[in-house]
Symmetry: C2
Subunit: 574 residues, 2 copies
Amino acid sequence: MKIVLAQQNYHIGNFEENLKKIIDAIHRAKEEKADLIVFSELSICGYPPRDFLEFEDFIGKCYEGIDIVKEHTQNIGVIVGSPMRNPEIEGKDLFNAAWLLYQKEVKGVAHKTCLPTYDVFDEYRYFEPGYQWNTIDFKGKKIALTICEDIWNLGDNPLYRICPMDELIKQHPDLMINISASPFDYDHDEDRKEVIRRNVLKYKLPMIYCNAIGSQTEVVFDGGSLVFDANGNIIKELKYFEEDFAMVDFVNDWSKMPNNNSLNYQPSATSFDKEMRVAKINDPDKIIDYLTAENNICQIHDALILGVRDYFSKMGFSKAILGSSGGIDSAVTLALACEALGKENVRAVLMPSPYSTSHSVSDAEQLSKNLGNDYDIIPIKNIYDSFLSALKPVFNDLPFSIAEENIQSRTRGNLLMAIANKFGYILLNTSNKSELATGYGTLYGDMAGGLSVLGDVYKMQVYALAKYINRDGEVIPKNIISKEPSAELRPDQKDSDSLPAYNILDKVLYQYIEKRQGPKEIIAMGIEEALVKRILKLVNTNEYKRNQFCPIIRVSCKAFSVGRRVPIVGKYLS
Amino acid sequence: MKIVLAQQNYHIGNFEENLKKIIDAIHRAKEEKADLIVFSELSICGYPPRDFLEFEDFIGKCYEGIDIVKEHTQNIGVIVGSPMRNPEIEGKDLFNAAWLLYQKEVKGVAHKTCLPTYDVFDEYRYFEPGYQWNTIDFKGKKIALTICEDIWNLGDNPLYRICPMDELIKQHPDLMINISASPFDYDHDEDRKEVIRRNVLKYKLPMIYCNAIGSQTEVVFDGGSLVFDANGNIIKELKYFEEDFAMVDFVNDWSKMPNNNSLNYQPSATSFDKEMRVAKINDPDKIIDYLTAENNICQIHDALILGVRDYFSKMGFSKAILGSSGGIDSAVTLALACEALGKENVRAVLMPSPYSTSHSVSDAEQLSKNLGNDYDIIPIKNIYDSFLSALKPVFNDLPFSIAEENIQSRTRGNLLMAIANKFGYILLNTSNKSELATGYGTLYGDMAGGLSVLGDVYKMQVYALAKYINRDGEVIPKNIISKEPSAELRPDQKDSDSLPAYNILDKVLYQYIEKRQGPKEIIAMGIEEALVKRILKLVNTNEYKRNQFCPIIRVSCKAFSVGRRVPIVGKYLS
């Protein structure tokens, strides 16, 4: 039986485009004499559709999609994902379903049982968990069909009380097929292979695993679909961060397949307990090395490029603008934007203030010359002075404070948005995760923007990204990488006036945010108690700022924004 | 058996303050010779604690809270809400639990079974649903103890597959006690009574129902705790939007209680199907009347006052600032802020631009004179000109556009934030729900602010609120109510240049947002197809703006922000 994996990038709610992609792939698979083609989770509508699922009109369009796809299933089986109405009165109205369509009919449907409802996932918000499990007969084979999280309920401490493969195995299937929308994070790369390998070895069955690719606002799906034989060997691995299409022959290849060491997967020590869903690195002294390891940085780079590119294409925009300060964050953002969108679609604006150092402008100019993107220089002194003059009757002679600092930052935000509005740019935000965590940024100023490129990248990782971007020669000028970080909003300001050294800060933040450690555990790492309490208080009291922040491309297992939901008026460690 | 209902306002994560309130009430109940005191859902930590629940440190503090309360239970039973660790390996690590503490011991615990995971609720994100049900013996009575949503699974089309009272009734309890954190919306007021009445009549048992009060960022809990006898009569109704404390005598009062018509609840026709969780008004011609009905507006008023007051007190602030344009939205916001915080704590800033009409300033001045709050006038012309002059090399001679409009709005945002930063004010946002829905506002400009007062109030309701505020005499000048709405960002601009009439717009928005109707159903109401499609497209393409908006005090059954989660890059009806 020849089976095609179609790893595609869907646009949520764009039924016309998604269906075109699906049907094109079916026709190609037919030409290649495939028996069955497999698409990813909720492929008809795109994943995650979120509250669109509450609209009967939207569900109607999903059903129309199934009907349209059905028409193309003469002599080829098609497995697609699409919501299914719950025929029973009790429980939620929908299932998250995988449909096997064949000869213009529905041959079988599987309901997702394990509904991820944590981090960026909200599936129980919409779906009833499956509670009946049946294999599906197709061309003389019994298929155990599951959806994404259904195969992740392993380990000694599982998140769900029911494991659907334990039910399906009772019916003696020949093959497991899992359709997924499993998002990327740099901490997650080997987990997916390991979870499939463990299923394969546990149930002694081969598995076809088809994942989605593409970025959906903040969540990046990285593809890497897989085929495993029943011995735990990888038969096929599809591309990462790209669409792909691959065919495997179930009968002819796999039974004879010798152990192919180049494809043979090396098992990892991953725990598949609940804790798997928290970051894995445990030795505090290794955190910074881990965060900045080249393998992780390279993946983060690729995910950010896809994240930027898909945000623009799915929003219907092509051009980006950003403020270029001569600092490392805007430099890395600018370089990534040029790579993602093309330098001709990126415009930098340099907006020196009276407190900017001379090298800020020259470094930023050199960067844009290296990258070849357009840039403008707009000094903000006159605007800043006009604000001070208008506020004179209110401020009187009160000393310079954070208010004056923020006026400068918000003036820049206003200038960038004005140019964006005038010419149809999207403003890219340049804040990093360390700043967002501690609230070291100005709302409506440097926190403005339509998309945050580095909001899930700690400062130490921004430096590592800069080095990675310079791997084949200087793109980001050395001086930008080596200078001490500063917001330059008052004379001689340095980040280190307000924040601890970033190698300490990032370590504490990682323990608190990614690993959900409390003050006791973090102090036990050997960090001074007062400093730990100060950092955690900064994180918790600045939730109100992050709440108004733009979407962040998620690259870690715990990004701010949709994956981390903390009460704003809460008073905890604050 | 004398039972106290303690209806209290908790601060999420503020264990010290919450425990003090709880212990004070226990001591008062002891003085009044109560046998049992009942607090609301998750009273120890405050509801909703959201992702704080993922911190073992936070759960540890909840357990410490239980231990502290336990010490005060000599001769009095105490029912409090607090998370409980799941002793089984499978499933989520926590239950949402109700604890009965007595004589310094845990007498019994109930686990919440029906976990609301829709709209503003995310309970399955944290909790395993209860799957064992036992009554708790206390002083010779058997108590059926449940938590909030547990009693809401009624009707012909229930949301959950298990109804915990159906299990508990098998053990022949004498009394139902339900501890809740059931939020306010103006569409919901009679539902709570009706759901209790139906439980009481179905199970032929009296019910003690203790609800929380207080606003938690965006969600307002309105109290109104209730005691029903087994015949469906209300024995006691606690205050709305206020803390309260009341004692009932279970044995002496209720068996003898005659039908007291003044307290006798009139059953409503509410359906308790899933559809209950969607707005109820069905006749499209009655939507505007319903939205602006005095009973609803009065409740919305009270909820907004509590929402503003609690946001400030829980954030540790006392003073508000806002832009006062002479329009209806800022006028209503200012009047509400003065009522909530005291006129001496509210500062208005009038910021006329070259396009402001003369009455804008005079109307806004008159409003502040009526209210007695401080105000400043800061014309923005010079700042606006300095922006245009700085942008001249980039804009060249391109015609006036939305870019210039937004510069004015963002200049105002910058001025307001500067004064807020200088003097420690919180900026109140003045946008209404109709504007937010259609994206008729400027990011970082009039969309700035720490809290949105009117973001869940349609424009037609803003007018009704203005009239309600003027019920005992003119507070908001008549001219502000009667003039045609305008953003005044270009010559002779009117809202009606860009938006349909608000009585049409609000009707369409209500059908789409509150009732999740699709274009077909809305067109069938008799609204022109092109207009419907234009409005729905505006709503869907402006999700990126609302995503960066501040928290909105929720008064309807479907508010933007935390209760409505729509993909930003989605392409649906857009």
